[in-house]
């Protein structure tokens, strides 16, 4: 979804460069962090139960799985593509795990099949987008119906329940004290994706493609291969999320994780990634995930219903993007 072309203006060269420290303070991440801290403080005053470490640990479950996908989605959006099928990949991967469970396969095989299904779905998206050159937004709207549709064909209105005990650890286990497996996985993946995007050649290629795919191709980047790998990554992280979610819920229905694709995209955009591609950072997405988690948890403690929270998340999404622009308009 590209926007109207702005009138072309000559490139402006500033008289003085802004110092790195000042730039960091003015950055999107700093603003978001400020919002996060404000919400944290407000929450700890609003409810006496908020500051309990176990409660906070419990609350982390409502964003860790989505955040795992958001890291890969951030890279994909920075490269100028989008994957709207992630929630449907979760549904299909979870359904495959359920079918394997019914067939009597052991826990490691269930996990492997969940991850492989995610990879296969990602490869399918990647093939259509990178291989055949089709626009990713419509391809993944199509596969979104297709993947979840296959789940519906296999399961109908039924459900897979009765997963083995061993699987429960991924979604319910704790590594140490209040740190759940999912929370640790979130932290590890944040570091891995942060390094991948900000410290490797591959990460630079992602930015290059997002800013100008044609120029990237002429500078020797195998654009389609990078795109394909990015779709593999969203597929794989969706598979991981499917394993965690299936383990946490202990059941699979075809409607599992409905609407998550929008929450994941919201998380990424809230994290300062431009939906038009070319800019954004993993730390931003991490902070956005925490902010969304805190808002949801804090409001939950105050007995605010889920749909009202979604209004607030929606307003947050538009607000954080609209306010700086409004401010600029007013100052002019």
């Amino acid at each position: 979804m590209t926007q109207a072309a702005p009138p072309m203006t000559g490139r402006q060269i500033p008289d003085r460069l802004v110092s790195p420290a000042k730039r960091a303070l003015r950055s999107w991440e700093a603003l978001l962090l400020l919002v996060g801290v404000a919400i944290f403080v407000a929450n700890s005053f609003a409810s006496p139960y908020f500051l309990d470490p176990w409660n906070l640990s419990d609350a982390s479950f409502n964003f860790t799985e989505k955040a795992l996908i958001a890291f890969a989605m951030a890279m994909l959006i920075i490269a100028g593509e989008i994957d709207l099928s992630v929630a449907s990949i979760i549904a299909l991967a979870s359904t495959v795990m359920g079918a394997a469970m019914v067939a009597g396969l052991p826990v490691p095989a269930l996990v492997a099949l969940g991850l492989l299904t995610g990879l296969a779905c990602g490869a399918f998206n990647g093939l259509l987008v990178a291989g055949f050159g089709l626009p990713s937004i419509v391809v993944t709207i199509g596969t979104m119906s297709l993947f979840r549709g296959i789940s519906y064909i296999l399961l109908g209105d039924g459900a897979f329940t009765g997963y083995p005990e061993g699987l429960a650890w991924f979604g319910q286990g704790y590594v140490w004290w209040v740190f759940s497996f999912e929370l640790v996985l979130f932290a590890v993946m944040a570091v891995v994706f942060g390094l991948l995007l900000h410290r490797t050649n591959f990460g630079r290629m992602v930015y290059a493609i997002g800013n100008n795919a044609t120029a990237a191709r002429f500078s020797g980047i195998r654009v389609d291969r990078v795109r394909f790998i990015l779709f593999l990554l969203t597929g794989l992280t969706s598979g991981i999320a499917a394993v965690c979610l299936t383990s946490r819920l202990g059941s699979t229905r075809p409607s599992i994780a409905t609407g998550w694709e929008l929450e994941v995209v919201t998380m990424v955009v809230l994290g300062g990634v431009s939906i038009l591609g070319g800019s954004g950072s993993i730390p931003g997405v991490v902070i956005a995930a925490l902010v969304m988690g805190l808002v949801t948890f804090g409001l939950g403690l105050l007995n605010v219903p889920g749909i009202v929270m979604s209004i607030i998340i929606g307003a947050l999404l538009i607000g954080v993007i609209a306010l700086p622009r409004l401010w600029k308009m007013v100052r002019k």
């Binding site: 979804m1 702005p6 937004i137 297709l146």
Partner: protein, 323 residues
């Protein structure tokens, strides 16, 4: 031969083929009365898809249409409960839908926020507003007046009013898109925004107009939906925005903007409508519907890409040959 190659002709053939296959299993499906029923059932999808079409033509997307529909439908049901006469209700829902569309359009136009972000946000806000208005309560058939429920179902010349409304909207769009300056502006803005600016078309204003049209239709469809199904609650038409986009994509509306036709769009919607109505008839579980519509979308995009992909180069080669 060129007629056979057009996107619309292929889609029309696909629809006829689909009907033929269904007819072999269940001949009564293609009886005129039943086809009229299927058309009427597909009316909301056709109406919203046409609104979505002009938005997509201008390089935008409106994901808030289903939430807009649900909110307007709920307001219609509440006004009906308060004793407001039907014509006034219709005016209000259309105005409300247009206003909700204008909110999207103004944010895209004046603030330059990408439409997918704006409508992703307003989608949750509009639907959440229904909850704030109603506390999650339903408005059921017995709480609606008979006149309110009867209007879209009243049969005129063998087709319910809802179907006639869809026919009128199709006719209106055929004129709007092909015969008015605004209609040409939609194509110009989507086809080449830079060039559109130089020809004196305001890109933002045109996009905003598209959102207002899409919103107004969604508001109107909200009343039709609630009156026809005789129930209003927070989640009506949940996820319907994706069906609407799917109808456009299957109908050959280019998601990059600037290309597509009213006929294609209507046939895209009809294709999905026929599949939905035919599945139970031929004895396939309705659970197959989602996967089938997903596959149809993928096939449609592949077809469209094959047609429109290398066109620019072919024209050049053609010119070179002649030179």
């Amino acid at each position: 031969m060129t007629l056979l190659k057009s996107r619309e002709a292929i889609l029309a053939l696909a629809i006829l083929l689909l009907l033929a296959v269904v007819a072999t299993r269940f001949p009564a499906f293609v009886a005129p009365a039943n086809l009229a029923r299927v058309f009427t059932d597909t009316s909301p999808l056709i109406i919203l898809a046409l609104g979505q079409m002009v938005v997509i033509l201008t390089k935008c997307i409106d994901l808030s249409v289903a939430a807009n529909l649900a909110l307007a439908g709920m307001i219609a049901a509440m006004m009906n409960g308060a004793g407001v006469p039907l014509p006034l209700i219709l005016l209000v829902v259309i105005a409300l839908g247009a206003a909700l569309g204008a909110v999207n359009g103004l944010m895209v136009w004046q603030l330059g926020i990408p439409s997918i972000v704006v409508t992703l946000g307003t989608m949750t806000i509009y639907r959440g507003t229904i909850f704030l208005l109603t506390d999650g309560k339903w408005i059921n058939a017995h709480q609606m007046t008979d006149a309110f429920k009867a209007f879209p179902r009243a049969v005129v010349l063998g087709l319910p009013v809802m179907g006639w409304i869809a026919v009128a909207v199709i006719a209106g769009f055929a004129v709007l898109v092909n015969r008015t300056a605004l209609g040409r502006a939609f194509y110009a803005v989507g086809g080449n925004p830079h060039a559109a600016v130089y020809t004196g078309i305001s890109v933002g204003r045109t996009q905003c107009a598209a959102f207002v049209i899409s919103g107004a239709l969604a508001g109107f469809a909200g009343y039709l939906w609630v009156a026809r199904y005789a129930v209003a609650y927070v989640d009506i038409a949940g996820g319907f925005e994706l069906d609407v986009v799917a109808a456009c994509v299957i109908g050959g509306i280019a998601i990059a903007g600037g290309a597509g036709s009213v006929a294609g769009c209507v046939m895209g919607a009809l294709f999905l409508g026929i599949v939905k109505n035919a599945l139970p008839v031929v004895g396939i579980s309705p659970f197959w519907q989602m996967a089938i519509s997903g596959s149809a979308i993928l096939i449609a995009i592949a077809f469209n890409a094959r047609r429109s992909g290398p066109q620019g180069r072919i024209i050049l080669k053609h010119a070179e040959h002649r030179a």
